[in-house]
Amino acid sequence: MSDLAQMSAGAVRGPAKRTGHGTQAMAGLALVALPMAMLLGLILWPTMRMIGATVTLEDRIGADRYVAFFGDAYSMANLRFTLEMSLISALTALALSFGIALYLRFSAGRIATMIHALSLFPLFVPSIIISYALVRFLGPNGLFQLLLEQIGITQYRTPYLTPVGPFLAFVWENLPLPVLVLSAGLTQVSDHAVEAARDLGARPLRILWEILLPQTRRSLLIAFALIFLGILGAYTVPYMLGPAAPEMMGVYMQRTLGNLQDPDSAQVQAVVLMAIASVVGGFYIATMLKSQGAER
């Protein structure tokens, strides 16, 4: 080794483990500082500021704007619509993916591989693309209607611009995550364990509930929370496919802020949505902490 190489080797401290704790802590904090600043500056700070702004009236502090929001039938209808949409879509996505994952668990071969690949396909399709595609596919005189008419069904009524439109899009978009989670969880259980249970006289439903699901239940809850939250804060899908009224909160907020130029009301709507999300989000975070704690 040349002197120069020795010097530089000496100057650089050894692998991470060797480095003094103080130096390492400083380096670590410095490296994560910028992303953390982004998190604080673009999520925490605007949110906090927004909550403050919504209760700051011209002459005093008060919840008047919230009273107005909750007193407004249209706003409440939108909120209810959003919640129902999120809940029903998330549950449907879970139920469907459950069926797919179960099928995948107990089958092998080319058909199963193709089903698996198809169920993951939405991971690669952005919201805006699938929204537009569904408009063209399911919309009036769309390909789906044409296909149905080929086999003699002519009473097709398009879900486009009805609540069913965004519902279908949300289910479509959110299929891969629970399929991934569930099929990963289900394959953890060996065939022998299932056979042993069947041998002892367990019915399929009982096997499902007591043998197959326990390992997956927590992941499922997390997947549900994530899907629910995603739909709650969605804009593109309801804008492209949804009805004009009631609107989902994303569309409502955008219209309030952009078209009506009413940031005060838009912020109130945003805070209400965040408050609701924080309940589910808190649950998501708690479950996640628990499952990470269990891993470590």
């Binding site: 020795q6 050894g14 692998p15 483990k17």
Partner: protein
């Protein structure tokens, strides 16, 4: 050649290595042997420089290298997981240390070819680690270290992930290679058979301490501590007390010229022999292992004994036999107090008549 001088290493308050001290001679193959968690791997890492010792000194050829980083020490380590770089070919893996040293390309290529030939993988240079079997990968890992011509080769349980057959074959290859090259080698293992077969000398470690350092045979026949005696091979253990120069051993008294007090008396199963005046025991099971026969016994007091003997000497199950030992190892407080060779029986009055 290599001096380990009162090395101590503590992890988060738990001592991993405590005041380890020993000296390795040039060309020697030394095994660090002990159960998992005994600190042997930590000590190896301290020697390599990958882990800092809290106190103590490492000297190589008399030069203090304690403060030296791993990348400047004249040691090279083979890891348990082989740690080959999957993004480099075998040849690139092997050549890495030479490239680091700034050696000219042509020379590197020649050296790679030589060392791959040495480990029997001359045609594998262009392969990727993913295309190697476990044994081949470990050979490449060895070649990667040999090529930089370290003063000391360190091996951290290199064969433990391989199957028994391959492990044995590689062990013999390594021993032959080490003999030929005369490379000072430190080999960590928890497998005593491996250690006995490979090592010129063995360092037995237990709970971070060096229990004993010596040639394999001596560790087996002359264990210095109870831990070594019980870790290496099988021992029949009898807890007793020494009084008036006598020790009670499975119901018979033997002469023990040692200070009185509590003691643990050990003997090897193969050191037992039939003796009409020996300790009485009933045969509970006879197991024919092929080369030897293992006999399990129980004494009237309920102590369990194991005896290995030639097949024609083996009694039948249920038989009452009397056994004596050729050597007894006596320990007190974990340390050897003495050894009783061909112990004298002290006949009790009843037996005398």
């Amino acid at each position: 050649m290599l001096d380990i001088d009162t090395i101590t290493k503590t992890f988060a308050g738990a001592p991993a290595v405590r005041e380890a001290t020993f000296t390795v001679q040039r060309g020697e193959l030394v095994c660090l042997l002990g159960p998992s968690g005994c600190g042997k791997s930590t000590l190896l890492r301290v020697i390599s420089g990958l882990t800092d010792a809290d106190s103590g000194q490492i000297r190589i050829e008399g030069a203090d290298v304690t403060a030296m980083q791993a990348n400047r020490r004249p040691t090279a380590m083979v890891f348990q997981s082989h740690a080959l770089w999957s993004h480099m070919t075998v040849a690139q893996n092997v050549g890495f240390g030479l490239r680091v040293r700034g050696m000219p390309r042509a020379q590197i290529a020649a050296k790679i070819a030589d060392v791959l030939d040495l480990v029997g993988l001359s045609s594998f240079g262009k392969r990727l680690p993913a295309e190697l079997s476990g044994g081949q990968a470990q050979r490449v890992a060895l070649a990667r270290c040999l090529v930089v011509e370290p003063k000391i080769l360190l091996m951290d349980e290199p064969f433990s992930a391989l199957d028994a057959h391959l492990r044995k074959a590689l062990r013999e290859e390594l021993k032959a290679l080490q003999r030929r090259s005369g490379l000072t080698t430190i080999f960590v293992t928890h497998d005593q058979e491996e250690a006995m077969e490979l090592a010129d000398r063995i360092v037995v470690m237990q709970a971070g301490r060096v229990e004993q350092f010596g040639p394999p045979g001596r560790l087996y026949r002359q264990p210095q501590t109870l831990a070594v005696a019980q870790f290496i091979g099988v021992m029949n253990t009898c807890t007793t007390a020494i009084q008036d120069g006598m020790a009670r051993w499975y119901g018979v008294d033997v002469r023990a010229a040692m200070p009185p007090g509590e003691a643990v008396v050990l003997c090897r199963p193969e050191d037992l022999y039939l003796d009409p005046n020996g300790a009485a025991a009933t045969v509970t099971r006879v197991i024919d292992l092929g080369p030897v026969t293992k006999v399990n016994l129980i004494t009237p007091e309920g102590d369990l004994l194991t005896w290995t003997c030639a097949r024609d000497l083996a009694p039948v199950q249920g038989a009452l036999v009397r056994l004596m030992a050729r050597h007894l190892h006596v320990f007190r407080g974990g340390n050897l107090v003495g050894r009783i060779e061909q112990p004298d029986l002290v006949f009790q009055e009843g037996a005398m008549t």
